[in-house]
């Protein structure tokens, strides 16, 4: 029974992981670049929430939309002002630009907020649990999982059924020809980056509710996000969900079997995927 609980906890943790990976996979799918500063966007979202909660004593859930909107703007501005200017044939340039950005954001956060541990207090939700027969599930992890699921569903719907979604998919397919249909791809990229930052912010706030974070917590989350995309694959956004769930379960099981291992089993899962199925669990096999 305890094993089932561990697996369920792993799945719920995986929902959060999938959310980390979702923003990154969106950018990768549409712009073919990796945002090394993604982990810092997750943490920046949480720190923004800390600032706003500190200023106005409202429950974090009500603050969510404000932080999300601001972070959307931050992502949009980053893309429009910086990343759009280095997109081209050299894949190293955007990679190194976002690398520099991650260090800037990380250390700015240290200078502005200090290096101490901080958390968002969701009140009684933090320790509340739901009893389902013999199982006991934490309300916060369950809520996090459901939020992640809802966001995946909402994004899928938006991509499949709205004009914006069509435009994003078309730009992802052929960024040159899409201009013939009146689409300015730089604006599409900016809105996708904005969305990615908004998703990162939500993930950051959810993270800060379940564990305490420091400005340095972004690095580990970036690695998790990458592992989610590699394990899941790049076929669709649901691949990231699968990757997140797999990683979450492996972490939960690994922690139970071998508490001192840290993230080792997740890394090993990544290696196995790279060796046995490099396109990911749900990815499309690329023709070399």
């Amino acid at each position: 029974m305890a094993w089932i609980e561990t697996i369920l906890n792993g799945l719920m943790l995986g929902g959060l992981y999938a959310l980390f990976g979702l923003g990154l996979s969106l950018i990768f799918g549409v712009m073919r670049i990796a945002n090394i500063a993604h982990g810092e966007l997750v943490i920046a979202g949480a720190f923004l929430a800390f600032t706003v909660t500190g200023a106005v004593p409202i429950h974090p859930f009500i603050l969510l939309p404000v932080v999300v909107l601001v972070m959307f703007g931050v992502g949009y501005a980053l893309q429009a002002g910086l990343v759009n200017h280095v997109l081209g044939t050299d894949p190293l340039r955007p990679l190194l630009l976002t690398f520099g950005l991650s260090i800037v954001v990380q250390n700015l956060l240290v200078e502005l907020f200090g290096a101490d541990n901080r958390a968002l207090d969701p009140g009684p939700l933090r320790t509340a649990s739901l009893d389902l027969g013999p199982l006991s599930l934490g309300v916060l992890p369950l809520g996090t999982f459901l939020v992640a699921l809802a966001l995946f569903g909402a994004l899928h719907w938006a991509l499949a059924h709205t004009g914006w979604g069509r435009m994003v998919r078309a730009t992802s397919d052929d960024p040159e020809i899409v201009a013939l249909m009146g689409v300015d791809r730089r604006r599409v990229f900016a809105s996708v980056m904005g969305l990615s930052a908004a998703l990162a912010a939500i993930a950051g706030m959810l993270l800060a509710m379940r564990t305490s974070i420091t400005p340095f917590s972004g690095t580990e989350r970036l690695l998790i996000a990458f592992e989610v995309i590699v394990i899941g694959g790049l076929g669709s956004i649901w691949a990231s969900l699968l990757g997140g769930l797999a990683l979450g379960v492996v972490h939960a099981l690994g922690f139970r079997l071998d508490p001192a291992s840290g993230l080792l089993y997740g890394h090993l899962l990544l290696l196995v995927i790279l060796l046995a199925r490099p396109e990911g669990l749900a990815g499309k096999r690329k023709v070399r």
Partner: protein
Amino acid sequence: MAERLLHIEALDAFHGDFQALFGISLSLAPGETLALIGANGAGKTSLLRAICGLTEARGGLLLNGRDLAPLPTPERACTGIAMAPEGRRLFPSLSVAENLMMGARIARPGPWNMQSVCALFPILAEFAERPAGLLSGGQQQMVAIGRALMANPALLLLDEVSLGLAPVVVDELHAALASLRGQMAIILVEQDMRRALAASDRFVCLLEGRLVMQGASNGADTAALARAYFGED
């Protein structure tokens, strides 16, 4: 002389450091069909792309008297230019219907919409929900042309629509294109000289980036044109 829709004056086009077009000058009246003839590498696609703004170009480029040079491609498209590009360039992960809807993003008022495009190419209605990447070459070409038509353009650019297609399919395409003649200005890029002349009012022949011959399609001196095409003389 009919008022000019498109006026190109001394146009040079570049791919990086390589110059693809040298001093091209031509005009097009509304509703006129111009055949752009030439061998591979003559610069036909470069000219179409230069009109759209996809290829860097210098020189006079006016649509209805409006200077296109300062406009980036998305804005040029909004002035009434649409293209079925070389290689079709559909959005492979979008369905046929979605590809057509993308074409309608900047639609001007006019007769072309989903129904009329599907009436022109019935196969599009049949495959409306299918991902465009899964269609055959000929079917994709119909989607590409349909997508361009959805914008109700004043100027339609057709780049090698018959390339790589079976003769039967090409006949079908050209029959459909014949019904478009006169409704909008068309620039038709074709390697097949006879088809090009049959489908157009005037023609222009390019050789290595330069305009070497032009004239009316009806009664054109095909021998002289063949010489110009191959660069003999």
